[in-house]
């Protein structure tokens, strides 16, 4: 089943990242193919996203249920398709130890290994180019299409998820930096 992880480091505080991402309206439009979203209550929301699956595009509606909300460092959630047969889960980790602690157990695929390595690098645990100082944030997402065509749909969405995760992380990073810059300007 497709799984994707990405990680960025931003020269702002953990709280500044949290203040931005805690309100989904701030970043919803950064999700590739975002059409609409609706907050049902503080833990449940419904999303409509249009995804490019190879040569065709499909609009899917899914529900996101927050299963863990630890301010200001961790959000975990599950995803359930409403128009398609799929489900999934994911997490968003800020600062501190953005490693496997936030990920579900018993899944140490290559994505998780890569994720862990990226995290260690960001903390300077490995010999690597000096990372940008600041706070790291990391996203992880696993999806699983069910039914007869599940294997084929999973094969189609894997590259889409990779692109979407990288795109989201980059846009989040830019938006948080911009907000921090504005706050600094206002203060000075």
């Amino acid at each position: 089943m497709p799984e994707v992880a990405c990680q960025r480091t931003i020269p702002v505080s953990e709280q500044e990242i949290w203040d931005y991402v805690k309100d989904m309206d701030n970043w919803a439009q950064f999700i590739m193919g975002h059409q609409a979203h609706e907050l049902l209550d503080d833990k449940h929301s419904v999303w409509t996203v249009k995804g490019e699956l190879g040569v065709l595009a499909r609009t899917v509606v899914f529900e996101v249920d927050i299963t863990e909300w630890i301010e200001p460092s961790r959000v975990r959630f599950t995803i359930t398709g409403k128009t398609e047969q799929f489900d999934g889960e994911g997490s968003f980790l800020i600062g501190g130890q953005p490693d496997l602690a936030g990920l579900p157990p018993k899944r140490r695929g290559w994505f998780r290994r890569l994720f862990a390595r990226l995290s260690r690098r960001s903390r300077g645990d490995e010999r690597a180019p000096a990372p940008e100082s600041g706070t790291s944030f990391a996203c992880w997402l696993r999806m699983d299409a069910r039914g007869m065509t599940g294997p084929v749909v999973n094969a189609m969405i894997e590259p889409l998820m990779s692109r979407a995760a990288d795109d989201l992380a980059e846009k989040l990073r830019g938006a948080i930096l911009a907000r921090a810059g504005e706050a600094e300007s206002a203060a000075s």
């Binding site: 249009k50 699956l53 190879g54 040569v55 065709l56 595009a57 499909r58 609009t59 899917v60 509606v61 409403k82 128009t83 398609e84 047969q85 039914g147 007869m148 065509t149 599940g150 294997p151 084929v152 749909v153 999973n154 094969a155 189609m156 894997e158």
Partner: protein, 544 residues
Amino acid sequence: MSNETYDIVIVGSGGGGLTAALAAAERGARVVVVEAGERVGGTFAYSAGLVWVPNNHFMAPAGYQDSEEEALAHIRLLGGGRHDEDVLRTFIRRAPGVIRWLVEDLHIPIELLGGYPDYYSDREGGKEGGRHLSCRTFSPRDELPAEWQARLANSPHFAGLPASWLEIQEWGGLASMASWDWNEMARRLVADHRSMGSAIMGYLLAACVKRGVEIRLVTKATELVTSAGAVTGVRVASGDGTEATLSASRGVLLATGGYDSNDAMKRRYDQFTNTHGIGSPHVDGSGLVMALEIGAAFQVFDGQLTTPTFQIPGEEADGRPLYRSAVREPAYPGGIVVNAAGHRFCDESFYRSLCHEMARYDVRAQNYPNETAYFVFDQEWKDRYALGPVSPGEVPSWLVNADSAAGLAEKIGVDPAALERTIARYNADAVNGEDPEFGRGSTKYGRNTGDRAVTPNPCVRALSGWLYAIRLHLGSSGTNSGVVFDEAGQVVHVRGHRIPGLFVAGNVGANLIEGLWYNSGVSNAKALTFGYLAVERLLGVGAS
């Protein structure tokens, strides 16, 4: 404006265009293919990739008997007297040789699709198998240089089914999708394997690349160049707006397809115009316009090559709503099609019957009584069969359903009492596997399309339990009207003479082979055949 000279200029990179390019390249001609789109393949690449060739060289060794005379008699009987005898004879005589050339000289892995019957196999000259050919899957990464791998068009209708027709037959057929090897298909999908029409186009493209055929993408032919009544070249505009004249010392072949993605032309030429293009969006009638501009004769036929389709809300391809083929689904037992009045109106096991009745105009009522049509099916149907990409048993939120005929009718805006009566009347005979009203499953083709596990009639079972409905629309995969051409594909002028230097292959030409008859794979077969024959005459070689 630059001027470049070739022996032959080919407009369009579908099956007809690339076959012509290969025939020309094999004979040492200087040839160029211009394609308006960003990818090679045209509507051929969007198709199911079936090729209908009577008396092909695969048949006899596999135990299928056939002859030119039987095929001729079949089409003469069913074409409504609208075919051109010379064009038909040439097609029947030459098509097997073109296939043999593609297989043996160019090594295109075309294969026999055994027991796939003619639509009218029970009529004179019809066959219950052997005339349909298909192709193995194609791997761009293995067969094409890197720069061409992303330039092969893929069909949104078959992109998620990287399997050949033969494999699908071996896996139990289209009614048994649950037993297909979906893990193997996922593996192929990751490796970008192609199937159906895109696979044949892949092999043709690979053969062109290997032979150094020049193919210019994002290059739109805008006008034919003439001199003293002869076509001597084409004016083209590339994606950056650069214009050029491509001179053709031998002539120009238009392989641009019909006008199925051009609504204005459909309104001008066809009686029923509310169809949705399901082929390449670049098939916009541009070749027709260029030919008509210089006096080509135009022959009107019976509208478009229509296909029943349905739409999954929000699904798109090529920047427009995707209409998915529903050729098979209405044929499976446990389903019927009704109009807005709640009445059945056709043999749903034969999609041509469904399409023609959906497009029928009632001059007494002055309306299209069956244009609004719903495919209605029951819980057992839902549990056993796939509706396009929707798995058996899966009930997406957009699929209308109810626990009774009256409840379903109310949801789709049909008279509840009428739908109840329709289902009751159908069920009364269906319990015996019969459909005396419209004859579901009364033809070999219909039975082959149904579910062979259901007896005595693979297309008939009484509806019961929970019911579902989905709106049907007519999709257009090609057009029947087009330019008049002769037995080598040379275009005929409106005054009756041949236009020197101008040829057509594929749906830009009118239905002169088939008249009012049709069989799956005919459009592809005539594209391949007349692409080849046109080059023979252009170069003054061969047997035509």
